[in-house]
Point group: C2
Chain length 173, copies 2
Protein backbone atom coordinates (compact mmCIF):
# COMPACT_ATOMS: atom_id res chain seq x y z
CA UNK A 1 0.00 0.00 0.00
CA UNK A 2 2.92 2.28 0.86
CA UNK A 3 4.14 2.38 -2.75
CA UNK A 4 0.87 3.95 -3.87
CA UNK A 5 1.20 6.88 -1.47
CA UNK A 6 4.90 7.39 -2.18
CA UNK A 7 4.34 10.83 -3.77
CA UNK A 8 3.12 11.95 -0.33
CA UNK A 9 5.75 10.16 1.76
CA UNK A 10 8.44 11.42 -0.61
CA UNK A 11 7.47 15.08 -0.29
CA UNK A 12 9.96 16.37 2.23
CA UNK A 13 11.06 19.86 3.20
CA UNK A 14 14.02 20.63 0.92
CA UNK A 15 16.10 23.60 2.05
CA UNK A 16 19.26 23.29 -0.10
CA UNK A 17 19.21 24.03 -3.82
CA UNK A 18 21.67 23.82 -6.70
CA UNK A 19 23.12 27.28 -7.44
CA UNK A 20 22.03 29.07 -10.62
CA UNK A 21 19.59 26.30 -11.55
CA UNK A 22 16.41 27.84 -12.92
CA UNK A 23 12.84 26.64 -12.74
CA UNK A 24 11.16 26.85 -16.16
CA UNK A 25 7.97 28.76 -16.97
CA UNK A 26 6.27 25.42 -17.68
CA UNK A 27 7.27 24.11 -14.26
CA UNK A 28 6.03 27.29 -12.56
CA UNK A 29 2.76 26.99 -14.44
CA UNK A 30 2.38 23.35 -13.30
CA UNK A 31 3.05 24.36 -9.67
CA UNK A 32 0.32 26.99 -9.84
CA UNK A 33 -2.10 24.65 -11.63
CA UNK A 34 -1.55 22.10 -8.88
CA UNK A 35 -2.10 24.72 -6.18
CA UNK A 36 -5.35 25.82 -7.81
CA UNK A 37 -6.52 22.21 -8.10
CA UNK A 38 -6.95 22.11 -4.31
CA UNK A 39 -10.45 22.03 -2.87
CA UNK A 40 -11.77 25.20 -1.21
CA UNK A 41 -14.78 25.83 1.01
CA UNK A 42 -17.80 26.29 -1.29
CA UNK A 43 -15.28 26.48 -4.19
CA UNK A 44 -14.63 30.14 -3.40
CA UNK A 45 -10.91 29.79 -4.28
CA UNK A 46 -9.81 32.73 -2.11
CA UNK A 47 -6.12 32.00 -2.80
CA UNK A 48 -3.79 34.47 -4.54
CA UNK A 49 -0.13 33.98 -5.47
CA UNK A 50 2.81 36.40 -5.45
CA UNK A 51 5.64 34.89 -7.53
CA UNK A 52 9.18 36.14 -6.94
CA UNK A 53 12.03 35.25 -9.31
CA UNK A 54 14.43 38.21 -9.05
CA UNK A 55 17.43 37.71 -6.77
CA UNK A 56 16.74 41.02 -4.98
CA UNK A 57 13.11 40.07 -4.30
CA UNK A 58 14.10 36.65 -2.95
CA UNK A 59 16.65 38.32 -0.66
CA UNK A 60 14.05 40.85 0.52
CA UNK A 61 11.65 38.00 1.37
CA UNK A 62 14.48 36.16 3.20
CA UNK A 63 15.09 39.34 5.24
CA UNK A 64 11.48 39.11 6.47
CA UNK A 65 11.45 35.39 7.33
CA UNK A 66 13.80 34.16 10.10
CA UNK A 67 13.63 30.55 8.83
CA UNK A 68 13.69 31.54 5.16
CA UNK A 69 17.38 32.08 4.50
CA UNK A 70 17.35 29.35 1.82
CA UNK A 71 15.33 31.78 -0.32
CA UNK A 72 18.66 33.48 -1.16
CA UNK A 73 19.64 30.35 -3.11
CA UNK A 74 16.14 29.44 -4.36
CA UNK A 75 15.06 29.77 -7.98
CA UNK A 76 11.61 30.85 -6.93
CA UNK A 77 9.68 32.24 -3.99
CA UNK A 78 5.91 32.04 -3.89
CA UNK A 79 3.87 33.88 -1.27
CA UNK A 80 0.44 32.30 -0.92
CA UNK A 81 -2.10 34.91 0.14
CA UNK A 82 -5.82 34.87 0.77
CA UNK A 83 -8.53 37.39 -0.04
CA UNK A 84 -10.79 37.42 3.02
CA UNK A 85 -13.61 39.08 1.07
CA UNK A 86 -13.70 36.04 -1.25
CA UNK A 87 -13.49 33.32 1.43
CA UNK A 88 -16.63 31.37 2.36
CA UNK A 89 -18.58 33.54 4.81
CA UNK A 90 -15.48 35.80 4.81
CA UNK A 91 -14.11 33.55 7.58
CA UNK A 92 -10.34 33.61 8.16
CA UNK A 93 -10.56 29.98 9.27
CA UNK A 94 -11.80 28.89 5.84
CA UNK A 95 -9.27 31.16 4.15
CA UNK A 96 -6.44 29.50 6.12
CA UNK A 97 -7.76 26.01 5.36
CA UNK A 98 -8.14 26.75 1.64
CA UNK A 99 -4.74 28.40 1.30
CA UNK A 100 -3.06 25.58 3.23
CA UNK A 101 -4.55 22.96 0.91
CA UNK A 102 -3.17 24.98 -2.03
CA UNK A 103 0.27 25.20 -0.37
CA UNK A 104 0.34 21.45 0.26
CA UNK A 105 -0.68 20.73 -3.35
CA UNK A 106 2.09 23.04 -4.58
CA UNK A 107 4.67 21.30 -2.40
CA UNK A 108 3.61 17.86 -3.65
CA UNK A 109 3.68 19.13 -7.25
CA UNK A 110 7.25 20.38 -6.72
CA UNK A 111 8.22 16.89 -5.56
CA UNK A 112 6.46 15.24 -8.52
CA UNK A 113 8.37 17.57 -10.87
CA UNK A 114 11.72 16.68 -9.28
CA UNK A 115 12.02 20.06 -7.59
CA UNK A 116 12.63 20.78 -3.91
CA UNK A 117 10.48 23.08 -1.81
CA UNK A 118 9.76 24.11 1.76
CA UNK A 119 6.80 25.74 3.55
CA UNK A 120 7.72 28.93 5.44
CA UNK A 121 5.34 30.31 8.04
CA UNK A 122 3.93 33.83 7.64
CA UNK A 123 0.48 34.17 9.29
CA UNK A 124 -0.23 34.78 12.17
CA UNK A 125 3.13 36.56 12.61
CA UNK A 126 2.13 40.22 12.30
CA UNK A 127 5.68 41.42 11.49
CA UNK A 128 5.88 39.04 8.54
CA UNK A 129 2.37 39.85 7.27
CA UNK A 130 3.02 43.59 7.45
CA UNK A 131 6.56 43.35 6.11
CA UNK A 132 5.46 41.37 3.04
CA UNK A 133 2.62 43.79 2.34
CA UNK A 134 4.97 46.77 2.52
CA UNK A 135 7.82 45.19 0.54
CA UNK A 136 5.78 43.86 -2.36
CA UNK A 137 2.82 46.24 -2.54
CA UNK A 138 0.28 43.72 -1.29
CA UNK A 139 -2.97 45.56 -0.43
CA UNK A 140 -4.17 45.77 3.18
CA UNK A 141 -7.24 43.79 2.09
CA UNK A 142 -5.09 40.75 1.22
CA UNK A 143 -3.68 38.40 3.88
CA UNK A 144 -0.27 36.78 3.28
CA UNK A 145 -0.56 33.25 4.74
CA UNK A 146 2.61 31.33 3.88
CA UNK A 147 5.69 31.44 1.67
CA UNK A 148 7.34 28.66 -0.32
CA UNK A 149 10.95 28.42 -1.50
CA UNK A 150 11.48 26.31 -4.64
CA UNK A 151 14.66 25.18 -6.37
CA UNK A 152 16.48 22.23 -7.88
CA UNK A 153 17.27 20.03 -4.89
CA UNK A 154 20.81 19.75 -3.56
CA UNK A 155 19.63 17.23 -0.94
CA UNK A 156 17.30 14.23 -1.15
CA UNK A 157 15.68 13.36 2.18
CA UNK A 158 14.21 9.85 2.42
CA UNK A 159 10.45 9.30 2.15
CA UNK A 160 8.81 8.96 5.54
CA UNK A 161 5.66 9.38 7.60
CA UNK A 162 5.44 10.54 11.20
CA UNK A 163 2.50 8.15 11.77
CA UNK A 164 1.71 7.96 15.46
CA UNK A 165 -0.95 5.47 16.62
CA UNK A 166 -1.59 7.57 19.74
CA UNK A 167 -3.05 10.26 17.47
CA UNK A 168 -5.84 7.94 16.23
CA UNK A 169 -9.15 7.40 18.05
CA UNK A 170 -11.66 4.83 16.81
CA UNK A 171 -15.41 5.32 17.21
CA UNK A 172 -15.14 7.47 20.33
CA UNK A 173 -12.37 9.67 21.68
CA UNK B 1 4.16 18.70 -17.47
CA UNK B 2 0.48 18.12 -16.71
CA UNK B 3 0.92 14.33 -16.67
CA UNK B 4 3.36 14.60 -13.76
CA UNK B 5 0.88 16.45 -11.56
CA UNK B 6 -2.06 14.22 -12.51
CA UNK B 7 -2.39 12.80 -8.95
CA UNK B 8 -3.28 16.35 -7.89
CA UNK B 9 -5.51 17.25 -10.85
CA UNK B 10 -7.26 13.89 -10.50
CA UNK B 11 -8.13 14.37 -6.84
CA UNK B 12 -11.72 15.51 -7.01
CA UNK B 13 -14.48 15.70 -4.43
CA UNK B 14 -16.29 12.35 -4.65
CA UNK B 15 -19.67 12.31 -2.94
CA UNK B 16 -21.22 9.04 -4.23
CA UNK B 17 -20.00 5.65 -3.06
CA UNK B 18 -20.74 2.02 -3.88
CA UNK B 19 -23.06 0.54 -1.24
CA UNK B 20 -21.65 -1.99 1.22
CA UNK B 21 -18.12 -1.63 -0.17
CA UNK B 22 -15.65 -1.63 2.68
CA UNK B 23 -12.30 0.12 3.03
CA UNK B 24 -9.65 -2.27 4.34
CA UNK B 25 -7.55 -1.79 7.47
CA UNK B 26 -4.46 -1.51 5.25
CA UNK B 27 -6.12 1.25 3.22
CA UNK B 28 -7.14 3.12 6.37
CA UNK B 29 -3.60 2.83 7.66
CA UNK B 30 -2.23 4.23 4.39
CA UNK B 31 -4.67 7.16 4.56
CA UNK B 32 -3.49 8.01 8.07
CA UNK B 33 0.18 7.55 7.18
CA UNK B 34 -0.30 9.97 4.30
CA UNK B 35 -2.07 12.49 6.53
CA UNK B 36 0.75 12.32 9.07
CA UNK B 37 3.36 12.77 6.33
CA UNK B 38 2.21 16.38 5.91
CA UNK B 39 4.48 19.17 7.08
CA UNK B 40 3.54 21.02 10.27
CA UNK B 41 4.82 24.26 11.78
CA UNK B 42 8.01 23.43 13.71
CA UNK B 43 7.06 19.73 13.24
CA UNK B 44 4.69 19.95 16.19
CA UNK B 45 2.16 17.60 14.47
CA UNK B 46 -0.86 18.91 16.40
CA UNK B 47 -3.26 16.78 14.33
CA UNK B 48 -5.46 14.06 15.83
CA UNK B 49 -7.87 11.71 14.02
CA UNK B 50 -11.26 10.35 15.01
CA UNK B 51 -12.07 7.37 12.75
CA UNK B 52 -15.73 6.34 12.36
CA UNK B 53 -16.69 3.04 10.72
CA UNK B 54 -19.99 2.08 12.40
CA UNK B 55 -23.12 2.90 10.43
CA UNK B 56 -24.70 4.60 13.46
CA UNK B 57 -21.63 6.81 13.99
CA UNK B 58 -21.54 7.82 10.33
CA UNK B 59 -25.26 8.71 10.50
CA UNK B 60 -24.69 10.72 13.69
CA UNK B 61 -21.90 12.69 11.99
CA UNK B 62 -24.13 13.26 8.95
CA UNK B 63 -26.80 14.65 11.31
CA UNK B 64 -24.28 17.29 12.41
CA UNK B 65 -23.05 18.33 8.94
CA UNK B 66 -25.55 19.91 6.54
CA UNK B 67 -23.38 19.06 3.49
CA UNK B 68 -22.36 15.66 4.83
CA UNK B 69 -25.29 13.46 3.90
CA UNK B 70 -23.03 11.21 1.78
CA UNK B 71 -21.56 9.98 5.08
CA UNK B 72 -24.62 7.73 5.37
CA UNK B 73 -23.30 5.72 2.39
CA UNK B 74 -19.58 6.13 3.15
CA UNK B 75 -17.35 3.29 4.35
CA UNK B 76 -15.47 5.62 6.60
CA UNK B 77 -15.66 9.02 8.25
CA UNK B 78 -12.58 10.73 9.60
CA UNK B 79 -12.76 13.84 11.77
CA UNK B 80 -9.46 15.70 11.69
CA UNK B 81 -8.94 17.56 14.95
CA UNK B 82 -6.17 19.71 16.35
CA UNK B 83 -4.70 19.95 19.84
CA UNK B 84 -4.12 23.68 20.39
CA UNK B 85 -1.74 22.99 23.30
CA UNK B 86 0.55 21.13 20.88
CA UNK B 87 0.44 23.63 18.00
CA UNK B 88 3.43 25.91 17.39
CA UNK B 89 3.08 28.83 19.82
CA UNK B 90 -0.37 27.38 20.60
CA UNK B 91 -1.65 29.43 17.66
CA UNK B 92 -4.97 28.38 16.11
CA UNK B 93 -3.72 29.71 12.76
CA UNK B 94 -0.85 27.19 12.73
CA UNK B 95 -3.17 24.45 13.97
CA UNK B 96 -5.55 25.13 11.06
CA UNK B 97 -2.71 25.24 8.54
CA UNK B 98 -1.20 21.98 9.84
CA UNK B 99 -4.51 20.12 9.99
CA UNK B 100 -5.46 21.34 6.50
CA UNK B 101 -2.21 20.04 5.04
CA UNK B 102 -2.99 16.67 6.68
CA UNK B 103 -6.54 16.70 5.26
CA UNK B 104 -5.29 17.47 1.76
CA UNK B 105 -2.68 14.68 1.98
CA UNK B 106 -5.39 12.27 3.11
CA UNK B 107 -7.64 13.25 0.20
CA UNK B 108 -4.82 12.78 -2.32
CA UNK B 109 -3.96 9.42 -0.75
CA UNK B 110 -7.58 8.31 -1.14
CA UNK B 111 -7.38 9.17 -4.83
CA UNK B 112 -4.04 7.32 -5.22
CA UNK B 113 -5.62 4.26 -3.59
CA UNK B 114 -8.60 4.34 -5.97
CA UNK B 115 -10.97 5.53 -3.24
CA UNK B 116 -13.26 8.55 -3.32
CA UNK B 117 -13.34 11.22 -0.63
CA UNK B 118 -14.64 14.69 0.14
CA UNK B 119 -13.65 17.46 2.60
CA UNK B 120 -16.52 18.58 4.85
CA UNK B 121 -16.24 21.85 6.74
CA UNK B 122 -16.42 21.87 10.55
CA UNK B 123 -14.42 24.78 12.04
CA UNK B 124 -15.28 27.66 12.54
CA UNK B 125 -18.95 26.54 12.72
CA UNK B 126 -19.54 26.47 16.47
CA UNK B 127 -22.60 24.14 16.20
CA UNK B 128 -20.56 21.54 14.36
CA UNK B 129 -17.54 21.82 16.69
CA UNK B 130 -19.71 21.48 19.78
CA UNK B 131 -21.94 18.79 18.29
CA UNK B 132 -18.96 16.61 17.34
CA UNK B 133 -17.40 17.01 20.77
CA UNK B 134 -20.64 16.01 22.48
CA UNK B 135 -21.47 13.10 20.15
CA UNK B 136 -18.07 11.43 20.14
CA UNK B 137 -16.61 12.35 23.53
CA UNK B 138 -14.01 14.71 22.12
CA UNK B 139 -12.50 16.75 25.00
CA UNK B 140 -13.08 20.51 25.22
CA UNK B 141 -9.32 20.95 24.82
CA UNK B 142 -9.42 19.44 21.31
CA UNK B 143 -10.63 21.39 18.27
CA UNK B 144 -12.48 19.50 15.49
CA UNK B 145 -11.35 21.17 12.23
CA UNK B 146 -12.77 19.17 9.31
CA UNK B 147 -14.41 15.88 8.43
CA UNK B 148 -13.75 13.55 5.51
CA UNK B 149 -16.10 10.97 3.96
CA UNK B 150 -14.36 8.04 2.24
CA UNK B 151 -15.77 5.20 0.16
CA UNK B 152 -15.38 3.23 -3.05
CA UNK B 153 -16.29 5.75 -5.74
CA UNK B 154 -19.59 5.47 -7.63
CA UNK B 155 -18.62 8.51 -9.74
CA UNK B 156 -15.38 9.49 -11.48
CA UNK B 157 -15.07 13.24 -12.03
CA UNK B 158 -12.49 14.28 -14.65
CA UNK B 159 -9.10 15.66 -13.57
CA UNK B 160 -9.01 19.44 -13.65
CA UNK B 161 -7.47 22.61 -12.26
CA UNK B 162 -9.25 25.88 -11.58
CA UNK B 163 -6.10 27.77 -12.62
CA UNK B 164 -6.88 31.46 -12.93
CA UNK B 165 -4.15 33.79 -14.26
CA UNK B 166 -5.78 36.76 -12.50
CA UNK B 167 -4.81 35.16 -9.18
CA UNK B 168 -1.08 35.36 -9.99
CA UNK B 169 1.09 38.44 -9.36
CA UNK B 170 4.73 38.53 -10.51
CA UNK B 171 7.39 40.47 -8.60
CA UNK B 172 4.99 43.03 -7.18
CA UNK B 173 1.27 42.91 -6.47
Amino acid sequence: MTDKILPLLGRRSVRAYLPDAAVSEAELRALLEAAMAAPSAMARDPWRFLVLRERADLAALADLLPHGQMLRQAALGIVVCGDPAQAHRQEISYLLQDCSAAVENLLIAAHLLGLGAVWLGVHPNEDRVTGIRRQFGVPETILPVAAIAVGRPAEAPEPRTRFNPDFVHAGRW
